[in-house]
Amino acid sequence: MIRVILPAHLRNLAKVTGEVSLDVDGAPTVLSVLDALEARYPMLRGTIRDQITLQRRPFVRFFACQEDLSLDPPDTPLPPPIRNGEEPFLIVGAMAGG
């Protein structure tokens, strides 16, 4: 079970509160977690990554175990604490604007 924390606007959009728990087949990666997330919550398609290129949106970042994984290849296996549910996978709206 993978735990995912969404930014507030996307929690509202998906009509969820708190964390989201996802079943992901095999060794989870950013790619497989996002695939599972969008399958469960189709309204999130296009909000985290482009629907056509699948590239991460510029002002969205991915964190796990206090590491920024945003620039890692999307098929990189996530750290063990994410895989066993000890730590959440964080999808973060970047601090921007002013």
């Binding site: 398609r45 629907q51 002002f59």
Partner: protein, 371 residues
Amino acid sequence: MSGVRLLVGTKKGAFILTSDGKREKWDVFGPHFGGWEMYHLKGSPADPNRIYASQCSGWFGQLIQRSNDGGKTWEPVGNKFAYEGTPGTHKWYDGTQHPWEFKRVWHLEPSHTDPDTVYAGVEDAAFFRSTDGGQNWTELPGLRNVKSDLWQPGAGGMCLHTIILDPKNPQRIYIAISAAGAFRSDDGGNSWVPINQGLKSPWELPDPTAQVGHCVHHIAMHPSRPDVLFMQKHWDVMRSDNSGDMWNEVSGNLPTDFGFPIDVHAHEPETIYVVPITSDSLHFPPDGKLRVYRSRSGGNEWEALTNGLPQSDCYVNVLRDAMSVDSLDKCGIYFGTTGGQVYGSSNAGDTWTPIVRDLPAVLSVEAQTLP
């Protein structure tokens, strides 16, 4: 008793303002989608409780929301806007060519007859259609065959911001793009011709009378006379009596002919409204006086409407989609400002009242006349 519903899109959410036919007391609902930019909301003429809304953010991109109950509840529908084929390039600010990139939906125009059919004007400029209530979107790419390598973004982006469906001829559609100009289709959006003859842009274009490239800000039509169009260009207020084949300037005695919105009285096809703005570098009303100008002669002769509007120290703007009319008698007219005010008049502009004063910057206002 009949009533009016105003659909207000702002920089930080959508608001719905309702009143009975007297239009004296208003209820305010919202924000819906708080924190998101709501570029445009519009109801279906065939089913007024079916409303489409464009929701976007610099972080999370574009969404389309749909309501089936007049805006009480909403559901996200399709948000995949894929250009047909290889999109190619258009002219960039510096004159070089730049790849076409989808950014947002500026305008949603539901069909006159089918609540499930809706058109979308997007940035970078293109024309999309959904026939399943917004679930799936398909580009009608013929528009981008019209010299689109010469189209160039205006200061607000290269946006398709105006869509007018001819109520008498379902094959005829007008659109406008900043900064490409106005275009007409006579085959339901498959092929297009530029309709910019008569426009003059000496400050913006190397060839002031070029076939494309003009910065058209908005176009309005009265449904009883779909061949007569009124345009607020970057500079100049224009009129066409032949479906856009030729335009003539009708700025007349306006204090400045720069501005964004233009609209037509619901019952008087020769009565039109604009909001003069000082200049393209000073986006606020001249002399700090917020004045709507009305012409009862289809242009050229204008009168200032000031009763109830701030006449000192007012430095707001009124954006292109932020003016709308209802079809009650007398005609109601409404506009929103970048200062967050929505003003309404229930007597065709003779007197004005602020309906709300402190919303986020208003991007769009659409009036629905309810039975």
